[in-house]
Structures are given as C-alpha cells and as structure tokens.
C-alpha cells in the first residue's frame, strides 16, 4: 500500500498537485460500490468544497448527531487533511452508518453503485432540509444561508413541491426535465416539470452517449390504448410526448442502464454494449439552445459479466491527470486508457470493464445558470 502510494507520487513527480490527496479506500467486503462512488464524489471539486465548508461551519451540529452527511463530511475531511499525499483510508464510520441507515446495503451482497449514489444524494438533501427547517423553527430571524443564493432561479420549479429548498447538493446535481405533451387534436402543449439528480439512459450496442441522450428525448406518440387526457379537449386524445432538459445541472450524472431485466430469463442481465462517451459533451436536448460544454471528470466502472457479482472501480480526472481507483489502489493512467472502458462490440468478450456512471461538470459556469 505504502509502496503503491510512493509509486504514484513518483509517477506524478513535481507535478503532484498542490494540496491534493490521492487515497485509496479500504474494502470491508463488497463495499467497492461505495468506494467507487465516494472517489467520484470526492473529486467532484465543487461538491467536495461545499461539503467541507458546510462541515467546518456547522461543527457543533455535527457533534450533536451523527448522520450520513456528517459521516461523509468527516471522511472527506479526513482524506483532505492527511499529512501524506497518498495512502489508504478506511471509510469505516461511513460504511457502518450507511448499513445502519438502509438495510439494502447491510448485507455483504454485491450492490448497485447507482442505487447507492441515488440513495446518498437524496439522504444528504433530506438531512439538509431537516436542518434548515429546524433552523427556521428555532429562530425566524436568521434565514437559512442557502436559500436566497440563487434567488431568481427558484420560481422555475413550479408545482414540483411547495417552496423547495435549494441546498448546495441541489445546486450541484439538480437539473429539471420537462415532459412536453402535445395534443394532436388541439395542439395544446402541456408541460410537466420534474427534477433529477441523474439521467438514466437506455443503451444500444455500438452507440454513443450523444445518441443515447437523443433517444432519451425522442418523440413518443401516445395512441391506441395509451392515449392522453387533454384538459382542453376534455377527452382522451392522441398525443406526442417528449422529454427535454429545461435546466441542465452543473454536475451532469449519467447512468447507463447496463442491468436490464429480461422477462424470458426472469432475472437481470448485464448489457456489455459498447457505448462511447466523449471527454467533452454538450446537451442538444435542452429547451433552449444551451451549447454549454461539459467535461468528463469521473467514471464509475462495473467490472464483471453479471449483475449480481463483480466489482466496481472508478476513473477520476484530477488536475488534468487521470487516476484509476480500485479500492485500496490508486494508479495514474493515460487519458487514452479511458477508451478501454467503453464496452464490447461483441457479446462474448474478455473485456468486462464497462463505464456505468459518468460524471460531467459544466465548464460554462457563468454562461448558463
């Protein structure tokens, strides 16, 4: 371990980024799903910085009651404050807390990294919302710090929830989808908004993320058994439906639906399809022409041929270097090595390392929301 660390330090030499820490995470028996996602989140710099900031400014709250948020903040603080630049850390408290919190993750079975990410982000939001609510009840005088930051942006979430609180987790990951339905009789367009932390995309063999996103937003016709009730026509009508991105998130998380339920088999099967993802991406399925560019900074990779076993690793871009995190081990890799995680064009391939969750960060920070 120590040797591996020094190897990475040697590889980076004097290019080792100032103040950065590259630490592997110990595996407590099938906790690679957790480790791989944690590394991706740690190297999501705005998220990390805001978490650390939150932690340092809410120290007293953290002492009071342990929850997943404080455990995560504690872990990130632990990593970032290490004296050594590389090494291994045991995310023991976090994993224990996770297992306490959710029975799904309690067993030693192989878990789904996407499910974990989703659970974690929602849990963090819940905790922050509860805290804000408590603070509000405590003293009406001081307003919660996050709420007003993005003032004019708030009304857009109309009808989603009553007075949604925009936490820093939202600001990083939340985007808004709009589900447009056009009645083919009266041409009225009904739009329904929903928020998301990640986009789950259906995949096809030998396709690209661009193409999967296009399919995600392709027009679907509602007819026959599946007609749409038009409020204006007051009856069931044929309609066209499509999903568009109304507000692109700052951090775009894309989940490839590699685990597919096969009815004939009565179980899930892993799709090893080759789906290429570019290092830079733009969303073309937005309501307005956004043209804002995203840059890939992390990939959670599923290793293995089936859904119920295997392993998770992650690729992370930090200060223009790509790193490979495999539980305890951290290695430097060439940017071109990212290509080896696209998937296989043939069904029976020896390569089973497939990109599963992609993390893109928006480059045009001021450009768009």
């Amino acid at each position: 371990m120590g040797a591996a660390g020094s190897k990475l330090e040697k590889a980076l030499g004097d290019q080792f980024p100032e103040g950065e820490r590259y630490f592997g995470l110990e595996n407590f028996g099938n906790t690679c799903y957790c480790n791989s996602v944690l590394q991706a989140l740690y190297f999501c710099v705005p998220f990390r910085e805001q978490l650390l900031e939150y932690y340092s400014s809410n120290k007293n709250v953290a002492d009071a009651e342990e929850n997943l948020l404080t455990c995560l903040a504690d872990l990130f603080t632990q990593i970032s404050s290490q004296k050594k630049k590389t090494g291994v850390i045991a995310p023991k408290r976090f994993v224990q807390r996770l297992k306490k919190q959710n029975e799904l993750f309690r067993s030693y079975m192989h878990q789904d990294a996407h499910e974990f990410l989703n659970f974690l982000l929602n849990e963090l939001v819940d905790i922050l919302e509860k805290e804000a609510q408590a603070a509000k009840n405590d003293a009406e005088t001081s307003s919660p710090p996050e709420k007003t930051a993005n003032g004019p942006k708030n009304p857009q979430a109309n009808g989603v929830q009553k007075e949604p609180l925009v936490t820093w987790v939202h600001k990083n990951f939340q985007g808004i989808l709009t589900n447009e339905t056009r009645c083919l009789r009266c041409e009225t367009v009904t739009a329904r908004d929903e928020t998301f932390f990640d986009l789950s995309l259906d995949i096809e063999q030998n396709s690209s993320i661009t193409s999967c996103l296009k399919n995600f937003s392709s027009t679907e016709t509602l007819n026959a058994e599946d007609k749409f009730f038009c409020d204006k026509c007051c009856s069931l009508q044929e309609a066209q439906k499509r999903m568009k991105i109304k507000k692109p998130p700052h951090i775009l998380v894309i989940h490839l639906k590699r685990f597919k339920y096969i009815e004939q088999l009565g179980r899930y099967k892993k799709l090893s399809y080759r789906v290429v993802f570019p290092l830079e991406l733009k969303l073309s399925n937005t309501v307005e022409d956004a043209d804002s560019e995203y840059s890939l900074f992390a990939v959670v990779v599923h290793v293995g041929s089936g859904p119920n076993h295997g392993h998770y690793v992650s690729l992370v871009k930090s200060h223009n270097h790509w790193l490979f995190f495999d539980d305890e081990n951290v290695e430097m890799i060439d940017e071109s090595a990212v290509q080896t995680f696209f998937g296989s064009a043939q069904e029976y391939s020896s390569n089973t390392d497939h990109g599963y969750i992609l993390f893109y960060e928006s480059l045009g920070a001021n450009n768009k929301s």
Partner: protein, 548 residues
Amino acid sequence: MINTANGMISTSSSSANAQSPGLKTYFKTPEGRYKLHYEKTHPSGLLHYAHGKTVTQVTLAHLKDKPAPSTPTAPSSSFSASSGVRSAAARWLGSGNGSRALGFVGGNGGGKSVSSTSRMGSLGASSSSNSMTNTNFDGKGTYLIFNVGDTIFISDLNSQDKDPIKSIHFSNSNPVCHAFDQEAKDGHDLLIGLNSGDVYTVSLRQQLQDVGKKLVGAQHYNKDGSVNNSSRCTSITWVPGGDGAFVVAHADGNMYVYEKNKDGAGDSSFSVIKDQTQFSVAHARYSKSNPIARWHVCQGSINSIAFSFDGLYLATVGRDGYLRVFDYSKEQLVCGGKSYYGALLCCAWSMDGKYILTGGEDDLVQVWSMEDRKVVAWGEGHNSWVSGVAFDSYWSSPNSDGTGETVMYRFGSVGQDTQLLLWDLEMDEIVVPLRRGPPGGSPTYSTGSQSSHWDNVCPLGTLQAAPSIRDIPKISPLVAHRVHTEPLSGLIFTQESVLTVCREGHIKIWMRPGVADSQSSNSETVLSTSSKDKALLSSKVGSSSYKQ
C-alpha cells in the same frame, strides 16, 4: 426476441443492433445497388493479447508494371484505381475457383466452431501465399495494406481470397498507420508508423517478393523514440509531389517531416518548444539530420492529417477538437475551427481542394469550406463517433452536364455505430438557417458566435470557436447502411467500389452499381458466404476442406 445461440438471449431493444447476421449484402442508392463483392480479413488464430489496443487502418496500393517514368497523373497518392484494376479483376475472376477453395474456409469468423477450421484455412493460405506472391509480385496489381495487432497484412484487392497473401510481423511494437506513394519513381513507397513512435519506409514490391515474415530493406526512423520520446504515431502521409518527403503525426501533438532520400536519422535535435499552446515550426539544426522539421501543432494528440491533392495545404485534426489547415510550404496556419464538442478523429479533402470533411466524437460529419474558412454544414446521421470520412472523387453528379450551375459532391462516412453513410452535398441547397431566425426568439448576435460574422470571411490564420448548433445548416444522409458487426475505422472510394474496414481488421468491398452486375455469378458465390446459407454454399465450393 430470442436469439438462442449458445443459450444466450438478447432483448428486443438490442435486436436492432444485434450481433452478426442480419447484415445485408447490398444497399440501395438513387443510382442503383452497391453489392458486397469481396471480403478481406486476416487469420483469426493470430489475434494477440495486444490486439484490442490498435485499430485497423487500410491503405490502397496500386503497383504498376514498371516504374512510370512520366506523368504524375492528377490525383497523386493512393487511390488510382483506373483500368488496371479492371483487367486484373477480370483475370482473377476468370480463373477457375477450385484452387481458391481454401480461402473460403477461413469463413466469416464469428462462431467458435469455425475457429479450428479457420486456423487450418490460414495455414493453407500462408503456404499458398508464396506461390501467389511469385505470380503476382512484378505484375501489376492493387493491394490492400492493413494492420491488425502486431502485423501488417497485404491482400490482393482483386482476388476472391479472403486471406492475405503476405504478413509482416513487428516484434517491437504494433504498426498503427501506413501510407503508399503511388507516384514513387524509385526507392521506397510504403510508410509504416508504429505505436512506439518508430517509423519505417520500405518498398512494397520488395516485401511481396520476399517470402519471410519480416520487413525487408527497411529504413528505420525515430528508432527507440530517439526523436520524440516514443510518442505513438497516429497518422502518416507522403507529401504530394514532395520528392520523397513525408510527414508523421504523433500523439504528443507534434508532426515530423522526413525525407526518404536522405540517409537515416543522424543527429536530429530540435529547440525546446517554448509554448505548448502555440503552433511553432522548428527546423533541424544540422543539414544531415532526418527528420528535417518539427511542427508543434497542438496540445494532446493529433489524430489524423491529410494533404490537399495539390500538396499546397495540410489539414490536421486532433484531441483538442480543432481542425487546422496549414499552408505547407509557408509553414503557416491558414484557418481552422473547433468541433461542436469532443475530439476530431478523421479528415479528408475534396479533389478540388474546396472542402474538408471532418468526423469526430460529437457524432457529426462536418463540412469545412476553404473559401468561407468555416463550417458550412453538419451531417447528422451517425449514432456514434465518426471514424472515417472521404469524398467520392469518382462519382459524377447526374446534373453535371455543364448546364447546371450547382456543384454536387458525394461523400461517405463511417462510424463506430458500424454504419456507412453516403451523403450528397449540393452547395446551393445549403441555406444559412440564421436568416430564418429561431421560432419565437431573436437571432443571437452574441459575441463570439459565428452568426455575427457570417458575411465576413474570417481573418487569415485564426481558429474559430465551436459554432452554435443553430448557426450551422444540417444535412441528412442519402443512405445509411450497417456494414460490419464491429465499429468501423475507415473507408476508401475506388473507381469500382467503396471499401469499408472495421477496427478488428475485416474489410468489405462494395461494388458500385453496374460494376458488380457485369461480373456475373462468380461474385454471387462470394456474397453468399456471409449469409445464412454459407455452410451449404461453401461446401459446394470446397467441401472437402470445409468438413475437416
């Protein structure tokens, strides 16, 4: 939908892109059917561990009877199909197919059951290759040169044999790019660039004459990365009319210019690159050194380079997403621009030098106008990255009888979506969409947007930012055809055909409408080897060897 092969099931959502069968052996265009004529591949038993890491490229090489003393005919470089091809084709097709039966045994790869026989087939092919070589080497012939793993294979374009007639192994590193000089009057005509950065020049004829499996009579450059710290070769090309000069592009963003008539690398050192972000050209300090110049083009890899047919301009595309066009002799940047997003992977010139095609990771085929110095059209139709683009210089527009004032171009593209797309580009039809204005909004005249200076040609020597999606006219493909089961890596137009190649080293030759018809039933037999009744037909052709 159940696909019961080996008990595995593929779902209906995937069936559109299902593995292997279902590939048609023809596709229709307005001018008629293109038919699969021949397939070329390599002995599958030779796949090495490192195989997956290199992508197959294919080069077309036409060896003439004798070194032509005169007339460097219009388009120099590799693709001169001409009448020589036809006569050669006739020769091969005319001969009985008894002796060629072995070629079929290699089969279409795919199933495990085939692999044992295909190894057998490959043995047969290699043993027969010597005699083939001897009959063929100093006659005229058109050859396909392609790299797979650590090997360069050479196939006879016009024979039915699937298997190559020659293989050249590289022990040190994998060959990744190559180029052939059609007009070489003497000496070496074939360039080979390696993953290790090493570069070789050889004589193709000499390789065909030799019976061994090693490169013979080669000149070796950048040995052990002596010039550039072993940065991978990415693209290699002869300078048209350059009297033996050639350019090698590397993954570190540099290009090196060599001269084949000069002795191998002497001491070639170049000044340190002062600013990695800036384009710069450095000349060798010593007159004896080879390479003679280093062009620092960009940060990150140069993925592909291409000379205009007159040799005046050199286009490069790379990891940073920029197309750059240089005046080669002046060593100056003329123009260029960025992709919509992501790296650019390939580029190609029109014959008249007016347009450049690029393809890349935004799934788009871009048409760049040299006159306007900007992107004039985006081709939308690929479902994955665009890995190969080419103009069809043999195609003549139906209204090109001199009266029509519109110039039409035909071009093709291949992608990692396994598709070949054909496109027609009619310049008059392309309307600037900005004039229409977006529905319900005012045109964006924001700073840096292309639209604000649509009418002004961009200043010389500047690079343009990525265009906005609204500002570029879109075109749709004429034909989209799935040609392989693997992602594609390139295509070449010849007078008689379109050639497609996939990353794994399988080549298909699609005869143009009219051409294949005249070549009768023989080609039909070849076609059917890839379809379902393959076993039946190939047993008819060469039953004894197939049954093994």
